[in-house]
């Protein structure tokens, strides 16, 4: 099998660096170019010191990009759509890690991103990149829009219950706790260490941008309308969604187990984590750092019809670059777990 030639646009950021780390060890991929305007001409390890001695690749400018088989876009939101024709001309397959092409609905984009979409004509061309929901579409996809990290954790936690039609679709309340890497590597006053360290910052009690994609993906039978809040916590990596859903029928915990097992029993990267004893009884994001797993657990309130769903990921992996590589593997017909086998660390 000849290598797939891959280029990464925006390779000095956190998701770009994660993608480089993964693809350097992918047996069927050759990274041909990695762009960064700020680091052009410098070793990739200058931006990603974990790759010292691992690769001698240097960053190039976007202007120097050549044609390749698959182009990954790891650009700030808005940039991929603005320069789409240039990027689309370079490769038959494009995987975009930004939010630019996640939504189908132009009005929803305008509402959540406070701008008119620069290329609404393209919105229908992209497959939403969560394999557990769209694996068949990904096999033939030419354009993939990777999901948001908070959206990925929330959707994977809730999708089985929504698909089974056992919850009230308007009544779910989701609280996501996220690490600081989710904000990217551009500094601002709020990310200054003495301000950020030790914080529990309610940065988005309402109006989070990922709500639009969550509602769309969960609108299986009825239109979903989740109530979503996000809190920044003192971790670098990790996102954990605690979702309060309300059943529309009487179910036991065993019934709920069966719903989740039916959805995820054969999934390579979703694990049901719900144990009666031990130290880690529910999903714990710190154990997932560097892995492509989404761990999903739940508990039914014995005194009400509420089910608390807990779902955790590494935001840079299953929430971004890992999801992108999983999508690449599906698109190219590789074993889905290729380059994604790292099981994480304990203790960590």
């Amino acid at each position: 099998m000849s290598d797939v030639r891959v280029a990464i646009v925006g390779g000095s950021g956190y998701t770009g660096g994660e993608l480089v780390r993964l693809l350097l060890f992918h047996p069927h991929v050759q990274i041909t170019q990695i762009t960064s305007e700020r680091f052009a001409g410098k070793l990739v390890a200058k931006a990603h010191p974990n790759l010292r001695g691992v690769t001698k690749l240097k960053f190039t400018s976007v202007a120097q990009l050549d044609a390749c088989d698959v182009l990954f876009l790891c650009l700030p939101h808005g940039e991929a759509a603005k320069n789409w024709d240039r990027y689309a001309g370079l490769a038959p397959r494009v995987i975009d890690l930004s939010a630019d092409f996640r939504l189908r609905d132009e009005a929803a984009y305008r509402f959540y991103y406070h701008n008119n979409h620069p290329r609404p004509d393209l919105l229908a061309d992209f497959v939403y990149g969560i394999p557990e929901l769209h694996r068949e579409a990904l096999r033939d996809a030419r354009r993939v829009a990777c999901a948001g990290c908070n959206a990925t954790a929330t959707i994977l936690g809730l999708f089985p219950l929504y698909r089974a039609g056992v919850v009230l679709p308007q009544n779910t309340v989701v609280e996501v706790k996220v690490g600081s890497s989710e904000a990217g590597n551009r500094a601002n006053e709020g990310s200054h260490h003495p301000e950020r360290a030790g914080c529990l910052r309610s940065f988005s009690p309402t109006g989070h941008r990922h709500v639009a994609e969550i509602n769309r993906e969960l609108s299986v039978a009825d239109k979903a309308s989740v109530h979503f809040s996000a809190t920044a916590i003192d971790m670098v990596r990790g996102a954990m969604a605690t979702s309060h859903v309300f059943l529309n029928q009487s179910l036991t915990e065993k019934d709920i187990w069966k719903i989740y097992r039916d959805a995820y029993g054969n999934e390579p990267f979703v694990r049901i984590v719900k144990e009666r004893d031990g130290l880690y009884r529910f999903p714990e994001p710190k154990l997932l750092a560097g892995t492509n797993y989404c761990d999903v657990g739940f508990e039914k309130d014995p005194s009400s019809d509420r089910v608390v769903v807990i779902s955790a990921i590494d935001n840079l992996m299953k929430g971004s670059a890992g999801q992108a590589v999983q999508a690449l593997n599906i698109m190219m017909g590789f074993e889905e777990t290729t380059a994604l086998a790292f099981p994480g660390l304990h203790p960590v």
Partner: protein, 60 residues
């Protein structure tokens, strides 16, 4: 020698639990899915129940 495997449902999560002719009444078995400790309540027919749990030692 082959023994006949009987599949019984975990009483906690509904996963398949395999028992066979070597399984004894009172034996403790861990469910692979939910990690729950199950006690073989009877062997003819096979029935399971959740094993008594030790005192809780888990907190914040």
């Amino acid at each position: 020698m082959t023994t006949t495997v009987t599949v019984v449902e975990c009483v906690v999560c509904g996963a398949d639990v395999e028992l066979d002719g070597t399984t004894l009444q009172g034996e403790l078995i861990d469910c692979d899915d939910c990690g729950c400790e199950l006690e073989v309540a009877s062997v003819a027919p096979f029935t399971l129940r959740e094993a008594p749990q030790e005192a809780e030692d888990w907190g914040q």
